[in-house]
Symmetry: C2
Subunit: 307 residues, 2 copies
C-alpha cells in the first residue's frame, strides 16, 4: 500500500543519499491496516507502525470511547519515526469484538493478555485519559511487562473531578451543536484563540483511515467506559500502590484539562517516586496533540534515557 | 588558557573531521576569567562561556548567597555547548563591588543595567531560586530585554514557605556539622540514597575555579539577600503581572524543594499563561544540577523552539 512512497524514496536514495537521510519515509498511519489477535477468546484489533528493534515497542492505550482512528495522525507518525508503535484497542471498541469492560481492572486484564498474546515481555506504555488509568493498573498488576510508562491527561484512583464526566460531555455536546464546532475541539482544547485553532487543526488529523476505518463507539461501550472512568475516580486513593512503582514514569498534561483536571497530574507526580512531570501552557486534555512535535521530542528524551 | 585543548582539537580536525565533530572542544568553566563592567557606578563581575551568534545569549541569575563559583560546572559547560552563556553577579557578591541589595526590585535594576551596559537588547534568562525572583522582576520591569525565561526552584510574590529560610538554613547547618556533609548537599538534595549521592557529586562540581576564585558571601550580603527573599515571599501575590507575561517561560523544580517549596512552581506555571512546567523525581532545590544532562537537553528544546 505504500508502494508509491517507497519507490519515490528509493529514487531519492539513488540520486542523493544526504537528501534521502533527511527525507526518511514517513509511515502513513491512515493506511495502516488492522491486525487481529485472540485474547481470552475475544478477537482484538491492533495496528503497528514504525520499527526499531533495539528498544521495546511503545504500546498506546486510548481515551474514553476513542478508537484507533482517534489518535492524532501526526503524533503517531512522529512517535513511529523512533520506535515501533503498537496501537491497542480494548474489547468492545472499534474493530475489537466482545463486550466493553466497565472497569479499569478488566480493561487492564485484556491489555495484559494482548501483550502476552503478541509475546511482548517488556514494553513501554503510553496511556491517555481512561487509557492512563489502564496503564496505571498494568503497572500494578503486571509490572514485569513494563520498562517505562507515560501517563497523559489522567489521574490516580480517587482523582478529583472524574465524576463530572457526564455533565461535561452533555454541556459540550450542546455547545458543539450551537457553535458548530467538533465536540473534541471543545472537550480537548482551551477556549483561547490558540487553543481553539489547535482544536480545529486536531480534528483534521483524526479519523482519516482509508484502510479499515473504525466505527464509532456504541452506546453500550460508551456507558461501560463511563462507568469505568467514574468508578476509578470514586475509588479510594491507592497511594501505596503508586509509591511502589519502580519504572520511570512521565506524567503529561495541559494547564486546563476539563476531563481529568490538571491537579490530578500534579498529584500523580507527587505520589509516584520515579515520576517526572511535564505540563504545557494554554492547553487542555489534548495537550499531547496540540504540542505533538514537542511531545514526541520529550517522549524520545524520556524513553531513550537522557537523565 | 585553553591552549592545550585547542591544539589537541585542531590536530584531531586535521586527522579526521568526523571524529572532530563528535569531540567538540568543551570550554572549561573553572578556567573562565572574570570580566568587569560598570553599572550605576558600581563595578560588577561576570563571566561568559561558549559562543553562538544566531541565538540570544543565555544570562544566569544565581541563588541566595551564591557566587559565580557556585554554579554546577557540568551544567554550565553543557549549556555553553549550544549558546553563549553569561554568568551575572549582582552587587555586593563575590568579585562584584558595591552593597548587596536587600530587595528583588533593586537586584533586578542592577541586572537590567548590566544587560544595558553590555548592549544586550534581547536575551534569554535563567533564574535559580532568588535569581528566579530577579528574573520574574526583569520580566515585569524590562520585558523588552527578554526573549524567553527559565525559572528554577523559585516562586511568585507571596510564595508559600519563603519565610522559613532562616530556620531551614540554621537546622541544616547544625545537621551539616553533625553528619559532616556539605550544607548544600543537605539543602539542595533529597535524603534518599540517590539524592544523597547526587548531593555529594554536586559539591565536587562547584567552587572549582582556578582562575579568579570567588570569596564567599559576606555576612552583610547574606542578611541583605535573606531580607530580599523573605520580602518577596511576604509581598502580596502579583497575579496580574504574571498573567501579563508574553514570553515563553519554562518553570523547573524537584519534587521536594526545601527552600522554595515545589507547589510554588506549580502555582507559577498556573499563573503565567505562556509557562511550561517540568518537575523531576526524587530531587530538591538543586534539581537542575542533579539532572544536569536532562536539564540542558530540555533547556535546548525550549530555547531552540520545538513546539
Amino acid at each position: 500500500m505504500n508502494g508509491n512512497k517507497t519507490s519515490l524514496a528509493t529514487a531519492v536514495v539513488a540520486a542523493n543519499s544526504n537528501v534521502a537521510q533527511a527525507a526518511t519515509v514517513v509511515a502513513d498511519y491512515s493506511r495502516t491496516p488492522n491486525q487481529y489477535v485472540m485474547v481470552e477468546g475475544t478477537k482484538l484489533a491492533y495496528r503497528t507502525l514504525g520499527h526499531r528493534s533495539d528498544v521495546p515497542p511503545l504500546v498506546l492505550f486510548q481515551h474514553f470511547t476513542g478508537t484507533m482512528d482517534d489518535w492524532d495522525q501526526s503524533m503517531i507518525e512522529g512517535l513511529a519515526k523512533s520506535r515501533t508503535v503498537v496501537i491497542f484497542e480494548n474489547a468492545g471498541i472499534g474493530a475489537s469484538e466482545g463486550k466493553a469492560p466497565d472497569s479499569v481492572a478488566i480493561m487492564a486484564r485484556y491489555a495484559g493478555g494482548f501483550l502476552d498474546a503478541l509475546h511482548f515481555n517488556r514494553v513501554d506504555i503510553l496511556g491517555f485519559s481512561l487509557g492512563g488509568a489502564v496503564a496505571q493498573q498494568i503497572l500494578m498488576d503486571r509490572p514485569e511487562l513494563v520498562r517505562k510508562a507515560i501517563l497523559v491527561g489522567t489521574g490516580p484512583q480517587g482523582a478529583e473531578g472524574f465524576k463530572d464526566l457526564p455533565n461535561i460531555i452533555s454541556e459540550n455536546m450542546k455547545k458543539s451543536a450551537e457553535v458548530n464546532v467538533h465536540l473534541k475541539a471543545l472537550l480537548f482544547f482551551t477556549a483561547t484563540s490558540e487553543g481553539h485553532q489547535s482544536g480545529l487543526e486536531f480534528v483534521k488529523r483524526i479519523n482519516n483511515h482509508t484502510v479499515d476505518p473504525e466505527p464509532v463507539a456504541s452506546q453500550e461501550a460508551t456507558q461501560a467506559q463511563a462507568k469505568a472512568w467514574i468508578t476509578w475516580g470514586s475509588t479510594p486513593a491507592n497511594n501505596g500502590q503508586l509509591a511502589a512503582i519502580k519504572q520511570p514514569v512521565l506524567v503529561v498534561n495541559g494547564n486546563d484539562d476539563l476531563i481529568a483536571p490538571t491537579v490530578n497530574s500534579y498529584v500523580l507526580y507527587q505520589r509516584i517516586p520515579t515520576a517526572q512531570l511535564v505540563l504545557y501552557p494554554d492547553s487542555g486534555h489534548g495537550s499531547l496533540f496540540q504540542y505533538h512535535a514537542l511531545f514526541v521530542s520529550q517522549v524520545n528524551t524520556f524513553l531513550d534515557g537522557v537523565r
